[in-house]
Symmetry: C2
Subunit: 188 residues, 2 copies
């Protein structure tokens, strides 16, 4: 059997799970420590601060999201489905670990003080990933208008993420998929 992961990895796992479910601001450091089974000083030796831990956890989460989305795209049968696969990925990503209240990257930027650059940077990376891949996937569907369609879909994906605050996440992604489909079908 695999050995118990080191303290650093356990901290990252605990942070990603708890920050996603309870929100960053709403999750005390103690809760992360308790779940990871680690002493306070260990956290600060590795990450320097709660914010530093958040940055590392978000970086790991972005890689995981990238993988989940890629897999969803690979599983889709045609160009249209590949473009809409982002919503399948959102469903899979949410139900995979602990279901999150809403997007951890938007949560980070919304909760951070105005001068905190780390949260903004993490959200910017997430945005760049979304925008870039949506453009690639939109190309076979919309041709020259790929960038325009991608911007539309970025709004809808972001809307679906935030709609998780207004209603339950499953409904939010389902509605987002429907809205995105309505937009995509303008280009058929």
């Amino acid at each position: 059997m695999t050995p118990r992961p080191g303290a650093r990895q356990r901290l990252l796992d605990a942070a990603e799970e708890l920050f996603a479910s309870g929100g960053f601001a709403g999750t005390p450091v103690d809760a992360v420590l308790a779940r990871a089974g680690v002493a306070p000083a260990t956290l600060y030796a590795h990450f320097g601060s709660k914010t530093g831990l958040q940055a590392a956890a978000l970086a790991a989460r972005l890689r995981r999201w990238d993988d989940v989305w890629s897999a969803a795209v690979a599983a889709a049968p045609d160009d249209r489905a590949r473009l809409l696969a982002v919503f399948d990925a959102l469903d899979a990503f949410g139900t995979g670990g602990t279901p999150s209240r809403w997007c951890a990257f938007l949560d980070a930027a919304a909760g951070a003080p105005a001068d905190d650059g780390t949260a903004v940077a993490a959200l910017a990376e997430d945005t760049a990933l979304l925008r870039g891949r949506l453009r690639e996937l939109a190309a076979p569907v919309a041709g020259e208008d790929a960038a325009e369609l991608a911007e539309h879909l970025l709004v809808v994906v972001t809307g679906a993420l935030a709609m998780a605050l207004r209603t339950d996440p499953a409904r939010a992604t389902a509605q987002g998929r429907a809205t995105a489909a309505a937009l995509v079908d303008r280009w058929r």
Copy 2:
């Protein structure tokens, strides 16, 4: 000249402005007190807690949003413009007082602990207002499909609000308007 408003009103004004610009969690009570020129005990005598003040401030904000949106609808020349006027209202609402980082209602729900019902209730009222009026305004454009179109637009409006975290608010509403227009024009 108008007399200086009472402490209660000054607290509400200060709270709405500071919570909108700095976020609820990121705004200490002291900052609200300082801006209102009021002593701590006065705040707690009127509102009971910081959360109580937030609830009252959000209620006032919802009324103001309702008015701004109504005015934008009244100023629009035709059915299509009336349906898209929500984005004009968002621009006017944001630039009116202190520009807010993003939607105060979504912020409240995102930042509140899971058991806090007041923030969720305030967001629910905001959602009901959006959904209801979008349906009314969609009727002349989409007829029987008004409810369906309204749900699409609710996602887009929510997306525009959250996009203010990814980019600056002016770009967010502009993109939202464009995306909404693309959807509305499916029903032309």
